[in-house]
């Protein structure tokens, strides 16, 4: 696509630069356009969606939104939104706390047998989540946690990715920093709290964003572990609302808009941090 000879420092007057810029703008539009289409089409009446005649609505209507927002007992979309926020936040909090503690212990403390333990943890990175679906389901059933937020929160803390990521990060902390803190009378926990964590803020932010987005978009978990509609998260709520019989595209698209807008706004506000965080993980390993 763009194997054009680009100079090291882009020069905007260069012809090649301009060609590349045009190509990339078109590509960017292609990626963003579908999202704009959800926004536009949600304002079409159903009969217009089913007989497509142009991108813009002939008779724009708020009907789809009124119907969704007007009957919370029918489509408890705010409830789902609240559930999603709560679950994703708690998962993120849990993962950050537990993983950073463990990663610190394994990376910086002189624990007997830690190589073995860390090896075991890293080995599970290879395990696809699906393999755990049935047994975790049965365990949660035993614990009586099915159909509660706990089913989505607590098991999420067992993943090895965060421990691995933070472990690698903690390894790079200079020994002298810790020693200085120890001389000041810091306990092990104090060093973790006042030295390791602040230094690792970027890595923690990355892990936090990853975890939050992963939990927010998780589809399989709520699909399998929850059964009461008022406990659903947004992804399953919207999916299960779509039916195989009726073509209620107007309603589903309007629901999609309501579900997407907050995430979209959050993304646009923090996009720099989010993308840098993701890039960091990639180049780390």
């Amino acid at each position: 696509m763009s194997a054009s000879p680009l100079p090291t420092k882009p020069n905007s007057r260069h012809l090649a630069y301009r060609i590349n810029a045009v190509v990339m703008i078109v590509a960017g539009l292609l990626f963003a356009a579908p999202i704009l289409l959800i926004l536009i089409t949600a304002f079409k009446p159903d009969s217009e969606i089913v007989k497509f005649a142009g991108i813009l609505p002939h008779k724009a209507t708020l009907h789809n939104f009124q119907e969704i927002l007007g009957s919370p007992e029918e489509i408890p979309i705010f409830r789902w939104f609240g559930n999603s926020v709560l679950i994703s936040s708690l998962v993120t909090l849990l993962v950050l706390t537990v993983d950073s503690l463990a990663a610190y212990g394994l990376a910086r403390l002189n624990l007997p047998g830690k190589k073995w333990v860390f090896g075991l943890i890293v080995a599970t990175l290879m395990v696809p989540g699906q393999i755990l679906l049935v047994p975790v389901y049965l365990i949660l059933n035993k614990l009586g946690w099915l159909d509660t937020p706990l089913a989505l929160i607590v098991p999420a803390g067992a993943g090895a990715f965060g421990v691995f990521l933070l472990h690698q990060f903690f390894l790079t902390i200079p020994r002298e920093l810790e020693e200085a803190a120890a001389l000041d009378g810091c306990s092990k926990f104090g060093i973790y709290r006042h030295v390791a964590l602040p230094i690792s803020a970027p890595a923690l932010a990355t892990l936090g964003i990853f975890t939050f987005v992963g939990s927010w978009n998780d589809f399989m978990g709520p699909l399998v572990f929850l059964d009461s509609v008022d406990k659903y998260t947004l992804p399953v709520g919207i999916a299960l609302f779509q039916t195989s019989y009726y073509a209620e595209y107007g309603l589903t698209l309007a629901a999609s808009v309501l579900c997407t807008l907050p995430v979209l706004i959050a993304f646009l506000l923090f996009q720099r941090h989010i993308i840098q965080g993701i890039a960091l993980t990639g180049s780390k390993e």
Binding site: S47, E74, N141, D227, S228, V229, L240, F241, Y246
Partner: protein, 437 residues
Amino acid sequence: MPIDETVPSNISRPITRRALLAAVPAALAAGGCHSTGSNPVTVRYWNGFTGPDGRTMLRLVKRFNERNPDVNILMQRMDWSTYYNKLFVAGQGGRTPEMFVLQTLAIPRFARARFIRPIDDLVASPQTVDVSDLDANVWEALHINGQHFGLPLDVWPMGLYYNKKLFLEAGITDSSGSPRPPQTRDEFLDTARRLTRPETPHRPGQWGYTFTYFESNLYTVLRQFGGEFFTPDSSRCILSSPQNEEALQFCVDLISKYHVAPSPQNFDSWIGFRQGKVGMAFEGIYMLADLQKQKDLEFGGAPVPLLGTHAAVWGGSHNLCLRAGLSGRELEAAWRFMRYLSDNSLDWAEGGQVPVRRSLRNTTRFKGMEVQSQFAREIPIVNYLPRLPFIFEFQTEFTTAIEKALRGTETPRVALATAQARLNKIIERDREASVAS
């Protein structure tokens, strides 16, 4: 099975609250909102009505709650295909709702898993429902080992929807000039042919007929040709029979020989009908609300023509069911709600259903519902899906077989034989699983 063990936890909640209230000073309690006695009893009510029928049901629930302040019906709904999963899984964890809707096809499965409380004692009680008012075949479909496992609310025979405008254009009319839906196989083929028109640069193509939902469409035709699916004791699958092959071949021929129906490969059938590109389709009454949204479509409803030798149409019913072991105030409240829904099933019918109580169908109000009353004529010939505890596996195999045949991937003979072999394996496995120690 731990289903019944949920009862204590449900009962304990009001008790603890009562204990708590007793502990606070009397003055506070008097000033507080609820007096202990009139705590409304909550009945969780689950169903799969996600479309417009869900909105109709929700209105009924609201009205009932307003008129019965001592009861709070809490309705929850999700797409049918996921709904049964969730209901079963909830039951496994002892969280079955007090009341739920099962389609007739699901009754054997959930009855065997001991999910459902039979309602015969309630029917015999003073607060009865007149079951002689129900259609006999519909009520009988809920009968297992001397007990009835639910109260039928409606019945949905499959019917013929036809596009009035296309009929008029093709001149398919009766003596008075109104569109004339076909009644026999010959009429059906002739009508379909006259309605089919290839695409030209000036107007889009048009089809005489289209298969919409494979399972219901094909089940109707197969039953009309007289084929059985299982031996009477359900111990063997006999899907691969000459009658069934002939019936399936007839359906394939509509696509590949008579060219009056599009191949499923290239056509979104139901939407096509809604868009006015198809003359006829067989669908359930529940699609009525969907069609009514298409303001520019003039359509009518009629009984399905007789394509084979036996009068039969695919159909089903929504049944109101109670959780196994339900008792006390919850039972009373749920039963009251069930009777309310049954008594008011004309309101339910308005959203595109056929009530199962004959007295209601004889009212002028029902007779004014054009499509509903046309479809209701077929109630006596409704054929439910076979009664099987492994019904979902059956549906998968049956749908796979007919899909392959209709798409031309396999001949009807091979497709049916494959499905039969797999179903017999499933029967064996099911037998092993159900023969208790």
